[in-house]
């Protein structure tokens, strides 16, 4: 915010078609002033920034001239044509600054603090918080933008607020769709013999997840052996062949084209994975599972159907694929969830990321030695017969509840000493009386009243009258001064502006005091500088409070001074402490001559 105004040569147009009046454009924080070069022309413009709603401009790369278009509240437009784009840029920034200052949050601190690297997400959170809470925004403006506190210090005490904001954003990852989008149906053009497949990055990710053989092929072939386009063309050729269910043709083509064969064959990676999974089944869960149950990769789940011709089709078996296989595989992948969280645009990146994550998960499962030992452990534990076990008492931590009498008794011992002096007089009077005597005298009073009945009269008329008078007087006086409800606050009787100012002063004093007291004891120069800054800010508050007192009508002035007094006391205590510690410091560094701090 270095410039407080911007002056440029520009032409002012009221509409797009208008040729424009040349002149000088001057913008300050308050308003826009345009003065045409020719004093006689009518294009003078004087608009306050309050009325400006928004701005538009022409893009630099386009062939259009550099225009800045400001819209005001009544939807009128002011178009300024500049001589070049850098002028436009300056004015645009300036207008942006002013507009941002106007009603919304003050702009992000543009000074880069060397001791703090803020991520964009963090900045966003802070700005959001400031936008939502106007009280916070006022404090922020008052202290951070005037340099009394740094951004870091201001937000350091508000971590909880920031965390709450951050956690509001959901961190869930979207899973895969349950629709089988990898099973793409081509669109056919009726006239020609072409079929068109549509491929989106999401589909690619699913294809890689569901068909690990294709994934492996992609990684090895692209970009070494063929381009991505060719790869996908071959893939879809294979798909087409499958869809025609012509296994003989499939076998024929596979024989010719080795790469195509990859897509047409059964997925051997799947087969081996399935076998590994079977091996890992916990026998305590499913005792019957064994390697013979590995059937998901076999067509028809390995069930031999009646009338199936085995011999002739054995060589073509490899090239068949059934719907149930596909569906099962897709379901398994969806349930596993999304393994990678990469931008989907770059296929190669996706493929590599997927490979990496698979590697990691296979490494985890690899340490077979350990896992099998673990499994045996678990097996032995699960097959225990509990009745025959010995008692399994774990060592208990004894419950330790502090005896509350400790607390109360220790307080009593202390109370003896402290309250001794306050009640000195009563002690003197009582020292002669023992417990028996006092109880005896009390009982005597009761017997006397039983014997004689209630006092006659209960209360003497003059005394009653006096009491009543005094009470009524005091009630009416206090009502006049303080208000009816003991819990009604004096603040409510002050004019609204004063009340807000006082409350704002309170929160800012609290903020300053918080930082002030937290910096003691001073151990680094950073704290020393900070404390000085805070002390200056605090001394500035005194005259402001005096001003408030002066602005209030005289009958409320006493109330306001009562309200202001604790603020004064808090500030006084802080400044006193500051001066005492300064003195101590200068006394410690004793070599310095008098007068130097």
């Amino acid at each position: 915010m270095a410039n407080t105004h911007v002056t440029k040569r520009a032409k002012y147009k009221t509409t797009i078609k208008d040729p424009g009046t040349p002149g000088t454009l001057r913008m300050t924080f308050e308003k826009i002033l345009f003065v045409p070069h020719n004093p006689k022309s009518a294009g003078k413009l004087d608009v306050e920034f309050r009325y400006i709603k928004g701005q538009k401009h022409t893009k630099e790369g386009s062939n259009k001239p550099p225009w800045l278009n400001l819209t005001n509240n009544q939807n009128g437009i002011f178009i300024f044509e500049f001589e070049n784009y850098s002028d436009l840029q300056e004015c645009r920034d300036f207008v942006g600054k002013v507009l941002a200052k106007g009603g919304e949050v003050s702009e992000k601190p543009t000074v880069a603090y060397p001791d703090e690297q803020l991520s964009a997400a963090e900045m966003e959170l802070r700005i959001k918080l400031l936008q939502e809470d106007s009280e916070l925004q006022k404090l922020h403006k008052q202290f951070v933008l005037s340099g009394v506190l740094t951004e870091t210090e201001f937000w350091a005490t508000r971590k909880k607020l920031l965390d709450r904001e951050a956690s509001k954003k959901t961190k869930q990852r979207l899973g895969f769709k349950s629709a089988m989008i990898s099973d793409i149906k081509p669109s056919t053009d009726g006239r020609t013999n072409k079929v068109t497949f549509n491929l989106t990055p999401e589909v690619i990710l699913q294809i890689f997840a569901e068909k690990p053989a294709v994934h492996r092929a992609f990684l090895s072939y692209v970009p070494n052996k063929m381009s991505e386009r060719t790869f996908w063309t071959k893939y879809f050729r294979a798909e087409y062949l499958h869809s025609t269910k012509n296994s003989i043709a499939a076998a024929a083509e596979a024989a010719e084209d080795e790469e195509l064969a990859v897509f047409l064959k059964q997925d051997d990676i799947l087969a081996s994975e399935a076998r590994k999974k079977i091996r890992r089944v916990d026998p305590t869960l499913d005792m019957e599972a064994d390697e013979g149950d590995d059937y998901t990769h076999l067509p028809d789940h390995g069930i031999l159907r009646e009338g199936s011709k085995e011999m002739t089709e054995s060589q073509n078996e490899l090239y068949k694929r059934s719907l149930s296989q596909d569906i099962n595989r897709h379901a398994a992948v969806v349930l596993e969830g999304r393994a990678v969280d990469v931008e989907l645009e770059d296929t190669k990146a996706v493929a590599e990321a997927l490979a990496q994550s698979k590697q990691k998960s296979s490494n985890k499962g690899e340490s077979d030695g350990d896992t099998s030992r673990e499994r045996l452990d678990r097996l032995s534990r699960m097959t225990e017969i509990e009745d025959l076990q010995g008692p399994n008492t774990l060592p208990l931590a004894p419950l330790c509840i502090k005896d509350p009498r400790d607390y109360f008794d220790s307080q009593q011992a202390n109370a003896l000493r402290s309250s001794g002096d306050a009640l000195g007089e009563i002690e003197q009077i009582k020292c002669g009386l023992s417990t028996q005597e006092v109880y005896g005298s009390l009982r005597e009073s009761i017997s006397s009243i039983k014997a004689m009945g209630l006092k006659e009269p209960i209360v003497k008329p003059e005394v009653a009258h006096q009491v009543f008078d005094a009470l009524t007087n005091s009630i009416s006086n206090t009502k006049y001064h303080i208000g009816k409800n003991p819990q009604e606050s004096v603040l409510d009787r002050l004019p609204r502006k004063t009340k807000e100012e006082l409350l704002h002063h309170w929160t800012s004093i609290l903020e300053l005091l918080k930082h002030f007291w937290a910096s003691y004891p001073i151990t680094t120069t950073y704290l020393y500088v900070k404390v000085n800054r805070l002390k200056d800010a605090m001394s500035n508050i005194y005259p402001q409070l005096e001003e408030i007192k002066g602005s209030v009508p005289s009958e409320l002035r006493h109330q306001v001074s009562l309200l202001v007094r604790p603020m004064h006391q808090a500030l006084d205590a802080a400044i006193q402490h500051y001066e005492a510690s300064m003195q101590k410091r200068s006394a410690q560094s004793g070599e310095r001559p008098n007068g130097y701090v």
Binding site: A415, S418, A422, R443, L454, V459, V467
Partner: protein, 296 residues
Amino acid sequence: MASAPSKLYADDVSLVVVLLDTNPFFWSSSSLSFSQFLSHVLAFLNAILTLNQLNQVVVIATGYNSCDYVFDSSSDLNRSFENGRMPVMCSSLLQKLEEFLIKDEQLSKEEPEGKVKSSLFSGSLSMALCYIQRVFRSGALHPHPRILCLQGSPDGPEQYVAIMNAIFSAQRSSVPIDSCYLGSQNSAFLQQASYITGGVHHKPQNLDGLFQYLMTIFATDLHSRSFIHLPKPVGVDFRASCFCHKNTIDMGYICSVCLSIFCKHHKKCSTCGSVFGQAQSEAASASDKKRKTPET
């Protein structure tokens, strides 16, 4: 007692639980004699019962070693002590009070010299609140309860925590605590109790006219308090007492775990046992300095 038909139930039916201070050490040194005090109070209780047919009064004696119920206007067990000189209610109350004092004396044990002779205010306050809770649960139609404390004994600092707890639970159940302090000093507990719960606190200037004070200020039922003006204290002493010495302090140290207040720097918090670390330059230490200011 059978609940009255609802059309008889007006807004101003009240249940007053009176906590009577029977601390013999206080009464032996008070300018007002106990029998005079009792006359004022008995007449006042009678008056409350005449204000509305459905009003109820319960009296709890706050003794030095124990507390007990001495009177319940809704109970049918008021033994007939036809005395001729006073109504039945008074005589039964006096009888029970005497029995209570005998029991209380028997409970007394050797006390060290110089101990603050305070009555068990926290105990009777808790008993009153329990009684009121029972009334709340007795049905939809019940009188509006309030508590009236007639205290003269000084505040016992060891009861601070218990009294504050009782005050907060009274605030929670919207039971105002009125208090009339008869002693010579000021009682911070009573002031705070009345302020927090929305009751009225008063320290009579002229104890001979106690009855007049009681009738003018404390006989008002809760409904009428919305339009009858009662005296308000000018300020309430909110200063906390430190947990180590029970002095009222302005500035002190606070444990950030359990919020106990100390006047001096300690190595360890005596309430929760957390250890205070050395004050670091930027890391938050376990004890912070905080300022508390009086209201006036």
